[in-house]
Amino acid sequence: MSRVVVDVMLKPEILDPQGKAVHGAFDRLGFDGVASVRQGKRFEIELTGDAGPEAVAEIERAASTLLSNPVIEDYTLHVETEA
């Protein structure tokens, strides 16, 4: 078993109402010192086998079509190694 993590964030130029709302909540709680907040998605994908090159390529393909919407989102992918 191994784990691939895909992080999906809105492209920087796209409005992120959620991040904006969270930023507002920080302010209301009196946490200052925050310049901006962006909220995205995190997918933790457990593979039945090893995260070999083919498996990663498959996940990569899914990340760019299924997990993210390339019109408004970017993704990054990494293989998680046991701590």
């Binding site: 492209k11 130029e13 796209i14 409005l15 904006k20």
Partner: protein, 755 residues
């Protein structure tokens, strides 16, 4: 390569008359560019060029359609209900008790194809702001939709996204969705139609108009901050720097924030109530360019704007981009200096960011400065109202005769009971006639607590006054197949169906809005369809006494040479003095008598039957009889007022069979029906003759009801009885149990979209 340019000011423009400008990339024609130079007496600055190019685009200027749309005004029937007519953000209709209603339908077709969720969401957001800008509280939305074939892969991408977007935005805004359409046809593949309608209500004295008057009054921009949204193509044009890497970062997709819009609505309503705003305009296409030029040209003076005071989400935006940005959830207001503090207190209460960006002047010019240097100095009317008007050539296409000659009369028809039964079930399950609950269950139809009828009823009905029960009914319809066969008739049929749907609930039809979705106006055949449809609609509105109060045109819906079916979507609004008298569509009471109102002919051109069973489209659409529509409406309205009928359902796509099945399914009752003597069962069940409805009449009212029909010489046939047997039994022809009907009707969309 990066070439940063100096800020292009009016001074610079005067000094460099020969500087090349990318007018063609901006979509302008050479003669249009020349005209801009003539108007200004110099070359435009980059910002001015961007502004003219967007405001003179088809989308904003209606340059291809204007010449035809004038008929809506010229032929408008006299109506004392119309308080504000075409030309404003939306028309306003008097419904009595000091209340007025405003409603309008708009398209967001192309953006919804590119990014279905956000495209549809921002489509809803945009039309809601139009209604809000009239001074009204938005109270409901509707969404007429068209998609490619139901099971096409692309439809499986587009439809769920569009539906989630309409719902995601409208639900979060707290506006009930009270109706719409879902239609599938191959011509809409790659060209889905996402139209959105909003209804608003206000007191007469609250009507606001988009004009900036009163020298010294402040111009304020409030709501969301301005970002790079929707500049897209225009960014090349609008940008001061032709830096590829940068302009590619300007998203052509706009992202909506329904929460911001909800707050903006409540904030605006409080501003209206406290009389703190004079003129108001929403920001839609072409953003600040459009809002400033329209407000200024509708006012009595000019306007000065300091563009650097606009609050930005992205500090790297250039002045041209700020002018063009289509960031959502923004409004522009005109406020007197005395009211400014109170105005800011209200926006502050709602946490709505606000900037004073300029003021009304007496110069008659719209002047926009950037850090003290003038980048725009124009007569606002030349931007907003005096764009080009084209008399585009149009011609009846050569193939029209052939299409009309391909009559469906030669198609094999079902004749035995088993064949007719099979046909009924097959049609009930076909994509266009199947239940749309998969879609509508994703929409909140109850919020605001005034929804009297919503899907799957013939029209959405809203209560607007709790004490008197005064309310309105709205329906949208449009049949692209009918319109393709005969655009003049097709547009009239769209109106007739919406009008009939409204009357079926017991409401008196008052006014019309329309969204005209067509292919490219540069194709003379498409332009002919458009011209014919407008002529048909204007003529029919005259006969029915329902003026067009506003609407929208969407052209260039085509892929290559192939245009969509010409699709005029018509919305009709009617009034009910007491919503307690509304007539729902479902049969409820066993023992009531079923009447078919109107005349049934052998009419199958463009019918659902020909399409579903033979994939056939040809012949002539059903004939229109507007006098009969009017008579039928009066009968239904009187029947509602006098409590003569308990259920009514209009007969349209799929004919009497479909109408009966839907009326039985609503409450799972049953009906025993007989085919009138001398009528062919197939024609009785499936013909799409117009000006018809089925009603269920309590026995105690039967005589009064038939007397009324007789007195009006309107065709009425007793065709059956409601029962609770759980079967739709067309005697000696076919019988189907409610469960089987329901399964056929309700499985189709889930089978495709839940897979």
């Amino acid at each position: 390569m990066t070439t940063h340019r100096e800020l292009d000011t009016t001074d610079a423009a005067a000094k460099t008359p020969d500087q090349a400008q990318p007018w063609d990339e901006l979509g302008l024609k050479e003669h249009e560019y020349t005209r801009i130079r003539d108007i200004l007496g110099r070359r435009p600055t980059n910002s001015e060029l961007a502004m003219y190019s967007v405001m003179w685009s088809e989308h904003c200027s209606y340059k291809s359609s204007k010449a035809h749309l004038r008929q809506f005004g010229q032929k408008a029937p006299a109506s004392d209900a119309l308080l504000v007519g075409m030309g404003e953000n939306a028309g306003v209709v008097d419904i009595g008790n000091g209340l007025a209603v405003t409603f309008k339908v708009e398209s967001h077709n192309h953006p919804s194809y590119v990014e279905p969720y956000q495209g549809a969401a921002t489509g809803v957001g945009g039309i809601v702001r139009d209604i809000l800008a009239m001074g009204a509280r938005p109270v409901a939305v509707m969404d007429p939709l068209r998609f490619g074939p139901m099971d096409a892969d692309d439809t499986k991408r587009v439809l769920p996204g569009v539906v989630a977007g309409v719902g995601g935005y409208g639900n979060c805004l707290g506006l009930p969705n009270i109706g719409g359409e879902v239609v599938f046809d191959p011509s809409y593949a790659a060209n889905p139609l996402v139209n959105a309608l909003c209804v608003g209500v206000m007191r007469h004295e609250d009507i606001h108009l988009a004009s900036a008057s009163g020298v010294g009054n402040k111009v304020v921009l409030f709501g969301a901050r301005t970002g790079g949204d929707g500049i897209g193509g225009a960014s090349i044009l609008a940008s001061e720097s032709f830096d590829d890497s940068k302009s590619s970062k300007r998203p052509s997709v706009q992202v909506g924030d329904p929460f911001m819009e909800k707050v903006l609505i409540e904030c605006c309503l409080e501003l209206f109530e406290r009389r703190l705003v004079d003129g108001i305009q929403d920001l839609g296409a072409a953003g600040i360019s459009c809002a400033t030029s329209e407000l200024a040209s509708n006012g009595d003076g000019g306007m000065h704007v300091d563009l650097e005071t606009v609050l930005l989400r992205d500090p790297t935006l250039t002045p041209g981009e700020i002018l063009m940005s289509e960031s959502q959830e923004r409004m522009m207001g005109v406020v007197t200096p005395e009211n400014l503090d109170a105005f800011l207190a209200v926006t502050g209460k709602w946490d709505v960011e606000t900037a004073v960006i300029g003021e009304v002047t007496g110069t008659g010019r719209l002047v926009i400065d950037w850090h003290g240097e003038t980048i725009v100095d124009v007569d606002p009317r030349t931007v907003a109202h005096e764009g080009p008007v084209y008399e585009r050539p149009y011609a009846r296409p050569a193939w029209q005769d052939e299409l009309q000659a391909a009559s469906p009369s030669a198609l094999p028809r079902p004749s035995t009971g088993a064949e007719l039964r099979d046909t009924l079930l097959r049609m009930l399950a076909s994509p266009n006639l199947a239940s749309k609950a998969w879609v509508t269950d994703q929409y909140d139809r109850y919020v605001l607590g005034n929804t009297v009828l919503a899907q799957p009823e013939d029209a959405g009905v809203l209560r607007l006054d709790e004490s008197s029960g005064l309310g309105v009914a709205v329906s949208t319809d449009g049949n692209g197949r009918y319109t393709k066969l005969d655009p003049y008739t097709g547009a009239q049929l769209a109106l007739a169906e919406a009008y009939r749907n409204v009357a079926t609930t017991g409401a008196r039809p008052l006014a019309v809005t329309d969204c005209l979705n067509f292919g490219s106006p540069e194709d003379p055949a498409v332009m002919w369809q458009f011209a014919e449809a407008v002529r048909g609609l204007a003529d029919a509105c005259q006969v029915l006494g329902t003026p067009v109060t506003g609407g929208n045109v969407s052209l260039y819906n085509q892929t290559g040479e192939a245009a969509i079916l010409p699709t005029p979507v018509v919305g009709v609004l009617g009034v009910l003095d007491d919503v307690g008298r509304r007539i729902p569509q479902g049969f409820r009471e066993p023992g009531q008598v079923i009447y078919l109102l109107g005349e049934t002919g052998d009419e199958f051109g463009g019918s659902e039957w020909a399409w579903v069973t033979h994939g056939h489209l040809g012949g002539m659409p059903p004939s229109v009889d507007l006098d009969a529509e009017r008579e039928l409406a009066e009968i239904l309205v009187n029947a509602s007022r006098d409590g003569l009928v308990d259920a009514a359902h209009d007969v349209s796509d799929g004919g009497v069979a479909q109408a009966l099945a839907e009326a039985v399914l609503r409450h799972g009752t049953g009906a025993r029906v007989w085919v009138p003597d001398g009528v062919d069962p197939f024609v009785f069940l499936f013909s799409e003759s117009q000006a018809r409805a089925i009603v269920s009449v309590p026995r105690s009212e039967e005589v009064r009801f038939t007397d009324m029909c007789t007195a009006r010489r309107f065709g009425h046939q007793r065709i059956g009885v409601v029962d609770d047997g759980g079967v739709l039994d067309v005697q000696n022809v076919l019988a189907v149990g409610v469960d089987e009907l329901r399964n056929a009707h309700e499985s189709t969309l889930p089978a495709v979209f839940d897979a």
